[in-house]
């Protein structure tokens, strides 16, 4: 079954954190993922995203992170570095408005799972999340 650690207690296909400062973007991503059966939590910037995970009783209750790059306070790049260090088994999908090939290559080298440019269509986002979920399970099985 395609779920991560948290799903032992939570029904569904897995939990995804969506970090984006644009309320309409969060709404579209949330709708897309929830309709596909995922459990979604969201944050409007990197620091809120980090504190949401940190404040949780179980910091591993997360399967995939979908994160923008350009945001106020702690930006996406800083947040991604933090997520990679703290939760190395949680795949990160970057969802950004920047069609920047060199940044994409750089982030993928740093271990980001996928780099998607807005506007991304529903099927592509879901395919990426599904692939990330499989990666998450593979990484969890290794531990």
């Amino acid at each position: 079954m395609p779920w991560g650690l948290h799903t032992k207690d939570t029904p569904g296909m897995g939990r995804i954190l969506v970090v984006d400062d644009e309320v309409s973007v969060r709404k579209v991503v949330r709708l897309t993922l929830m309709k596909a059966g995922y459990d979604v939590i969201d944050a409007d910037d990197g620091s809120t995203g980090i504190s949401m995970i940190g404040s949780d009783d179980n910091p591993l209750m997360l399967d995939v992170i979908v994160c923008d790059i350009r945001m106020p306070k702690i930006n996406g790049l800083e947040a991604i570095t933090f997520f990679r260090q703290q939760y190395s088994s949680v795949p990160i999908i970057v969802l950004t408005g920047y069609p920047d090939a060199s940044m994409a290559a750089d982030l993928l080298n740093k271990g980001v799972y996928d780099y998607l440019v807005k506007p991304v269509d529903k099927d592509k986002l879901l395919a990426s999340v599904s692939g990330a979920m499989e990666r998450r399970m593979a990484l969890t099985d290794d531990h």
Binding site: T32, G97, K118, P119
Partner: protein, 341 residues
């Protein structure tokens, strides 16, 4: 003697040709325009001369006798006037007239056209460097439009359909407003238009442009503006000055820091200051930053023309641009322009 000191020039005839000459001479360090004469006190060159603080007159002889220029450039094309000047000019003053003056006049107009084209090219280059930020600003609402539309396809609840459609309309309007601002900035406008402008407003416009390119996300902007900061200039040229300075400041801070913008007034001069909290400019480079094609940015990130054009425009309006920079503490660019009367 003329090789080492400035040539003091009086321009006779201040129509479009005289104005182009004045613009060219005003930005050439080897030339000092000491007077402009035209029978029409409202000729374009006369207005510009007054703006630059240059003596003007509607009758040539008394001014010529008072200021004793090295050279009179006569672009009136008036043979009677030429004879009149030749008879009454001071002994040390030379006259450039007839076809020779026409040649200089043509070259000045050609140079003026090139300068206008350069400003336009630099404007587009600025948009180029801001392109990824602009793409980001547009792609966010675009994603809201395409994403919500995908969900509308199988949505049946009327209240939800209405909610999504309203958000789609709002996102579409946001994109339209971004495109409108960009269009206003890049259009090739009539550079002949000189009017009263508020310097504070121009800076605010420039900051808005930077915001449009979302380069200000992590920059705190602090502004301190005069209630009115009136100067006379072409609006597009002046906007270009501040878009260049603000963009440079934000790029210097790598998109993160404090941008302080202000206007102040003293002794008939309006002063605008654009200050960043970036790493500052290496003292060995300070003397070169206004040179054409000088850039410290990576290839493709800057033309090296921005500050050159800033200085060119400001100088033509009788102003001055200066820079102070402390390594590690940031840079501050000051633009001084004559206050509009």
């Amino acid at each position: 003697m003329l090789e080492t000191s400035q040539i003091r020039v009086l321009i006779l005839g201040a129509g479009k040709g005289g104005q182009a000459l004045l613009e060219l001479f005003a930005s050439a360090p080897a030339v000092e325009v000491v007077g402009v004469v035209d029978i029409n006190p409202d000729a374009p060159g006369m207005l510009l001369a007054r703006n630059l603080g240059i003596a003007t007159a509607t009758e040539p002889l008394s001014l010529i006798r008072t200021i004793r220029p090295d050279l009179i450039v006569d672009v009136t094309g008036d043979a009677v006037m030429a004879g009149h000047i030749a008879r009454h000019k001071p002994p040390g003053t030379e006259v450039l007239g007839g076809t020779s003056a026409l040649l200089v006049w043509k070259l000045a107009q050609y140079e003026r056209e090139l300068r206008h084209q350069l400003i336009q090219v630099e404007k587009l280059a600025t948009i180029g460097t801001l392109a990824s930020g602009i793409a980001h600003e547009i792609n966010n609402p675009l994603y809201a439009i395409t994403g919500l539309s995908e969900h509308l396809i199988d949505e049946t609840r009327p209240e939800i359909i209405r909610e999504y459609i309203l958000e789609i309309i709002q996102s579409g309007r946001r994109i339209a407003s971004i495109v409108q601002d960009l269009n206003a900035y890049t259009r090739r406008s009539n550079l002949e238009t000189i009017c009263d402008l508020d310097l504070s407003q121009m800076i605010e416009e420039a900051v808005k442009m930077a915001r449009r390119a979302s380069v200000l996300d992590e920059v705190h902007v602090k502004s301190r503006f005069l209630e009115t900061a009136p100067v006379r200039a072409n609006p597009d040229e002046l906007l270009q000055v501040f878009v260049n300075l603000v963009t440079n400041a934000v790029q210097a801070m790598n998109g993160k820091g404090l941008l302080t913008v202000s206007t102040s007034q003293s002794n008939g001069t309006i002063r605008a200051t654009i200050q960043d909290s970036g790493p500052g400019i290496d003292p060995s480079l300070l003397g070169k930053i206004f040179d054409p094609f000088f850039t410290t940015k990576d290839p493709g990130k800057g033309t090296g023309l921005g500050l050159h054009i800033v200085r060119d425009i400001v100088t033509r309006y009788g102003g001055k641009v200066t820079v102070e920079s402390v390594p590690g503490q940031g840079s501050s660019f000051t633009v001084n322009l004559p206050a509009a009367r």
